[in-house]
């Protein structure tokens, strides 16, 4: 068994910018999940703005095996267009699937269905975890993980079930979320706090539980 962890990766010269990923031997890798053979790849870019964190981009990839190319679902998001002529919805999902009846679509679609950027709201990591637990058979280590995700969903959605796109995640809540997410994985996920960022340490001490 290999101890997996989520790591906050610092960006040289950018004290308030971080990438969150599971890193092993210097390479970003996908988590194995309890109860299934599929894996979950997580990459989230986070910026500290004032007293809260905001998600700058993410890529959550549910995949059937070790290979990147074995992806089944991909949730992706950019806060701003990554280039001026980027023509896709900034929050979208890709499904590695085929149409039941492919011929009509093929007449109009110049690319495979897996290349479609299907619009979504911005998807919190908790909902991805909830989804793989509820529908893919991933086993949480505790029921608390599921109830926590559900409560976050209720807290961040309106009566119609739409995500509150203005919701902001305080630094302490980010840490708490990651800590709670440990329960979904085989082994504890540990957040490596960047030792080079006094600003970040200050925010953790003020806004969230120490790790």
């Amino acid at each position: 068994m290999i101890d997996a962890r989520l790591t906050l990766l610092t960006i040289p010269g950018q004290e308030t910018h971080y990438n969150l990923a599971c890193v092993e031997n210097g390479e970003r890798v996908a988590f194995a999940l309890h109860g299934v053979s599929e894996r979950l790849f997580i990459r989230q870019a986070i910026e500290i703005v004032g007293d809260h964190c905001q998600t700058v981009s993410y890529a959550y990839r549910y995949q059937s095996g070790e290979e990147r190319k074995s992806w089944l679902l991909r949730w992706e998001y950019f806060r701003e267009r990554p280039r001026p002529d980027y023509e896709y919805p900034l929050a979208h999902v890709h499904a590695n699937a085929e149409f039941v009846d492919p011929d009509p679509a093929a007449a109009h679609l110049p690319k495979p269905p897996s290349h479609l950027h299907i619009p979504t709201a911005r998807v919190p990591l908790e909902l991805v975890l909830w989804h793989v637990i509820a529908e893919w058979g991933v086993t949480p280590k505790t029921d608390d993980c599921v109830s926590f995700s559900a409560s976050r969903w209720r807290a961040s959605s309106d009566a119609a079930g739409r995500l509150d796109r203005t919701a902001r995640l305080p630094v302490g809540q980010l840490v708490a979320t990651i800590s709670r997410s440990r329960a979904c994985f085989h082994a504890p996920a540990i957040v490596d706090l960047p030792a080079t960022s006094p600003r970040y340490r200050q925010l953790i001490l003020r806004g969230g539980p120490p790790l």
């Binding site: 068994m1 290999i2 101890d3 997996a4 960006i11 040289p12 010269g13 950018q14 910018h17 990438n19 599971c22 092993e24 031997n25 390479e27 890798v29 996908a30 988590f31 194995a32 894996r39 790849f41 990459r43 870019a45 910026e47 700058v56 981009s57 993410y58 890529a59 990839r61 095996g65 070790e66 290979e67 990147r68 190319k69 992806w71 991909r74 992706e76 950019f78 806060r79 701003e80 267009r81 990554p82 280039r83 002529d85 980027y86 896709y88 890709h94 690319k111 495979p112 897996s114 290349h115 950027h117 994985f185 085989h186 082994a187």
Partner: protein
């Protein structure tokens, strides 16, 4: 907990400068999971941030 390495695709073999230039020129396959992942990892277009090696 077991995690696994993943194989590199063609874009992962690019030097950062080449990836950025080709991405911003729209030359890369947006359906390739590595393309959007790397664009996000490098913060391309976010807060005016440009990639650095």
């Amino acid at each position: 907990m077991r995690s696994s390495s993943t194989r590199s695709s063609a874009v992962l073999a690019f030097p950062v400068e080449v990836f950025v230039r080709r991405y911003e020129a729209g030359e890369l396959d947006e359906g390739d999971p590595d393309v959007s992942d790397l664009a996000g990892l490098l913060w391309l277009g976010q807060n005016g941030h440009r990639a650095t090696a």
